[in-house]
């Protein structure tokens, strides 16, 4: 069964890049969100196995989205993908339970490594 992934980023360019990379490797991108509110709604309705989450969104920080999701009963992993690379932000995100924090610009191998690691851990 294909793993379901929700892609969250404010730019369509980045969403398309991430989606293409993941679908080419057999993952199913079940939804896309361009802002935090939509991301939270889709996380609940689509119940993805993994969310790739941008940190700077038009309506809230990805950090806030992660905080809300971490308090819900959803069983999904979160991979933060953001240009914001400061140490304090990375620490907060990881403390909230994100699987990893990828700093843009990144290459597709980095993304696939982290996604594969997420599902490998799931299977273990």
């Amino acid at each position: 069964m294909k793993k379901k992934i929700l892609v969250v980023d404010d730019t369509i360019f980045m969403r398309a890049m991430i989606k293409d990379t993941l679908t080419e490797r057999g993952f199913e991108v079940v939804g896309e969100a361009a802002n935090g509110e939509s991301a939270i709604d889709l996380a609940h309705s689509l119940k993805p196995d993994l969310i790739t989450l941008d940190n700077v969104l038009p309506d809230m920080l990805g950090l806030e989205v992660l905080t809300i999701l971490s308090k819900s009963n959803l069983d999904c992993k979160v991979l933060m993908i953001s240009a914001v690379g400061q140490d304090s932000m990375k620490r907060k995100v990881m403390e909230l339970g994100a699987l990893a924090y990828i700093v843009k610009p990144f290459n597709t191998d980095q993304l696939l490594d982290e996604v594969n690691r997420a599902f490998a851990e799931n299977a273990a």
Binding site: D10, I12, V56, L57, V84, Q86, D87, K104, P105
Partner: protein, 199 residues
């Protein structure tokens, strides 16, 4: 505050900006997959002349406002032909040559993503050094006549009561591009530098 203390803080700010520009240069090389040289330039009227020389052409100006514990903004400025060269080098042909609404949207979003990443590179340098939480807001893009660019930047500097402004040009000889990168900070930056120096 003594003048010498202020001078120290301005020098410290300049070092942080230099470090931030170096990170931004690396990010740009990674995005564009081409060597980039960075030229730091003093603030004067000459720096934006290149855009005036392209006549009545528009320039693409991406503005990112700082959020969190740091106030200021940055501006990434591309000449029209810079944008076309970058699009052809980095985007799939159907998008870079496409004229559809979808293709145009993708080109705009790609520029915003470049700006987002370069701005974040500089902010990261400041945030780590000053131990603060800061980030760039979602960037905005406007196209303005090149002849009005200097006046626009001047007005932004005045509007923000800026005490520090810094400018660099990224030279990408392989692509023959030279976008400008301008940063303005409000004087609270100097206070934060002073605070971290005192601790």
């Amino acid at each position: 505050m003594s003048q010498s203390t202020r001078t120290n803080e301005v020098e410290a700010a300049a070092q942080l900006i230099n470090g931030g520009f170096s990170l931004a240069k690396k990010s740009m090389e990674q995005i564009l997959q081409t060597p980039i040289a960075i030229e730091r330039i003093e603030y004067d009227d000459q720096a934006l002349d290149r855009f005036a020389l392209v006549g009545g052409n528009e320039v693409h100006l991406l503005k990112t406002e700082l959020k969190g514990e740091l106030a200021g903004a940055c501006y990434l400025i591309f000449a029209n032909d810079d944008v076309e060269k970058i699009n052809h080098a980095c985007l799939p042909l159907d998008i870079s040559s496409g004229k559809s609404a979808d293709s145009e949207l993708m080109k705009v979003e790609f520029l915003k993503e470049i700006d987002n990443i370069l701005a974040a590179s500089v902010i990261t340098e400041f945030a780590n050094a000053l131990e603060i939480l800061a980030y760039g807001d979602v960037p905005s893009l406007v196209s303005i006549p090149s002849s009005t660019l200097h006046k626009y930047i001047e007005s932004e500097i005045k509007k923000n009561e800026t005490v520090i402004h810094s400018r660099a040009i990224f030279h990408g000889p392989a692509l023959s591009i030279s976008p400008h990168f301008i940063w303005i900070f409000q004087d609270e930056l100097l206070d934060k530098i002073k605070n971290i120096s005192n601790n």
